[in-house]
Symmetry: C2
Subunit: 416 residues, 2 copies
């Protein structure tokens, strides 16, 4: 495939801007964020007008109502985008943190220092708020944001990026530090994923098709934000009222998000007592169970192999009775997606086994899986929740958008 | 391409072994390392016999002498492999380290804990010592090692893995925790790079062709060990005797390694004095310079654009006179490979600019680039030096072979 010359030229401009941003002071970056927020507010009318055209075109193309809802902006949503930038300005700057340091026997002073990644690529679907949310975090982390949104939101995204660019310029930073790929074709998206030497880290925010395209085409380094097939395991020693509160919260407080629970595992020693409690407390939830569950809860449907592996993202819960904590751990190892896995137990031994043997981004003891979230864990804003094991695992905040540099200071040391 | 059923079955066995290794105690892992070292020593004769067959076959196939040298083992090399395993047993166990922790306002106790990656894949060329070196580090880091060596070394590697397996078994650990891919075909190597769900991190150790194959085919997460086109910049304020000592050390102490210097940049203010010193001190080194260098050092050849971008790995040095530290930083940004970049200066301002503006795994002030090495920086053994920015940057020791898990402990907290 011939490289797109426009993409190459834009990539070079983004890289040049990244070098400026990398050494910008915290004050300068915060000034840019606050000015960008003001600019978003000032330009609300023109952004909404562009968004209206995008929505009309998408409707004419037959986009589903849920897609239209994600695409559509209103004054409140633009105000929330501006507020998000202001919140990021209030977060601590991760750049320059000395992660560790020591003096070697030969007197060489060694530090590992947190530094910007350089250019962070973000490829995403039709929510225009991602444009400012992602750009704001990249800016604060000292990296240029190179954005590739969906074709359906392109008119809106161009206006949002123009507003953000005003913020950069007013703080004396290059507008190219927040750049949007102009050609929204699939072919250009593939080339975007292959901009080695331009993009230091690519973050896809989208569904399975986007992840599959990344695995097939990407040659730049990337961090994947995977599914959340999360479990709650009610141990033999669990406080059953606590367990009930946790599963109700984990399943129903916001069923469409990745840290919601999808499968409940119940130890056989307490299933006779717990399952009837569950039936009543989750009356609005469709239950899909194994034979033991269906014996206790007649309304439960039969759980299939597919159900154990599913992220329902809906008021549906798979339920299984297990004979031991070993069986629960094995079930999670076989079906979990490595996101968030909770045990409810009063046994120290069970809690210790769960936290050491269950391999997931987050393991929880006696708490709802819903806490696995950047703001709940004190990271401030997050760019997603990584279910991979390299670089970033779990909620990704500003720190996860940085790299490390070794800094060695000597007085003429040579290696013998 | 049809998946190789043998590879799939072996992958499942390696994953199962990884779950056992992940919870093995430090004592058990050290026992296995020491027993593996003893087993390597005990089996020296059978390993050397297999190696002799590999060497004969490779010679008959016309392998170059440098390749044969890398392939060939002798008693001293096997003793060094055993000693390497014993040294790894002596390193601190990275697993279980609490990286940070806090209590949230709702009482939830949050920790980030260092945990094993799971299965670490290593794909490498014909040095059989990599088999035990890589396996030993993976074992200590609590991960299974899934190894794919070169066809030419397969007979040797099988014997080495058998010896290591004895060590695992004697400590009660599954032999599959160190496994070697049996089919050394290219097609199987490609499938190995695509074992998503089996391999958590793949580390290639080899040349440009291997890296290119990884970029094209790999769908598992990986860490790349890139080139080292390292620079030394002699600033206007440099102590020139110090600068001379550093460049001589960086260029000549071991020219074939990645942390050797390849290009020298000299500020014009000191070039009249420094270049003649250089000419004498690097008499055994071929110099390739710009016109200013060639005017001062008649024997210097003309440096080409290719030279600035080259990792010579030989007694060859490109030399350029620059007008400012800005020009030096720009040169490194244009041609550097992001490995190790040194400045020699007595100016605080220049040192600060270098360490903040030069984007590389390691930046050095008044010290030789040769210090960028796991053992010199206190990491113990290393599996390579990463020039990428995600997960691991610079020398990769045991810590870089681990992941992080969030552990949340509560008393029934639910999210409101």
């Amino acid at each position: 495939m011939m490289p797109d010359p426009l993409l190459e030229a834009q990539g070079a401009a983004v890289r040049a801007a990244a070098r400026v941003l990398a050494v910008a002071s915290t004050t300068t970056k915060n000034d840019a964020l606050l000015a960008a927020a003001a600019s978003l507010r000032d330009r609300t009318a023109v952004i909404l007008s562009a968004n209206e055209r995008d929505v009309e075109a998408a409707s004419a193309d037959g986009m589903a109502p849920s897609g239209i809802d994600r695409l559509r902006l209103d004054e409140a949503r633009i105000a929330a985008m501006a507020g998000g930038l202001e919140a990021v300005a209030g977060l601590a700057d991760p750049i320059g943190e000395v992660v560790e340091g020591s003096v070697r026997p030969n007197g060489l002073r060694v530090e590992r220092v947190r530094v910007p990644l350089g250019v962070i690529g973000v490829i995403y679907e039709n929510r225009p708020n991602v444009t400012s949310d992602a750009a704001g975090l990249c800016l604060k982390a000292g990296s240029a944001a190179y954005l590739r949104g969906s074709a359906s939101a392109q008119g809106t995204n161009l206006e949002v990026v123009a507003a953000l660019g005003e913020g950069l310029a007013s703080a004396g930073l290059p507008k190219a530090a927040i750049s949007l790929v102009e050609d929204t074709s699939h072919a250009t998206a593939v080339q975007f994923m292959q901009l080695r030497g331009v993009i230091d880290c690519l973050i896809p925010r989208g569904g399975k098709a986007l992840i599959a395209a990344m695995l097939e085409h990407a040659t730049v380094p990337y961090v994947l934000d995977g599914d959340g097939n999360c479990h709650v395991y009610v141990d033999a020693t669990a406080d059953l009222e606590m367990a009930l509160g946790i599963i109700v919260n984990a399943k129903t407080s916001r069923p469409g998000v990745c840290n919601a629970a999808e499968t409940l595992l119940v130890h056989r020693a307490v299933s006779d007592r717990f399952l009837p409690m569950l039936d009543g407390a989750l009356a609005t939830v469709e239950l899909r169970g194994d034979p033991a569950v269906r014996a206790a809860i007649p309304r439960a449907l039969e759980a299939t192999e597919t159900d154990w592996a599913s992220e329902f993202l809906d008021l549906v819960l798979a339920v299984r009775v297990v004979d031991s904590i070993d069986a629960a751990i094995d079930h999670v190892a076989a079906y979990g997606s490595g996101h968030s896995e909770a045990i409810v137990t009063s046994s120290v031994a069970s809690a210790d086994r769960w936290t050491s043997e269950v391999d997931a981004a987050a393991v929880l003891v006696n708490a709802s899986t819903r806490f696995v979230d950047g703001s709940e864990l004190g990271l401030g804003a997050e760019v997603g929740i990584s279910t991979q094991k390299l670089h970033a695992r779990g909620p990704m905040g500003l720190r996860e958008l940085t790299s490390i540099r070794w800094v060695l200071r000597g007085g003429g040391q040579i290696r013998t």
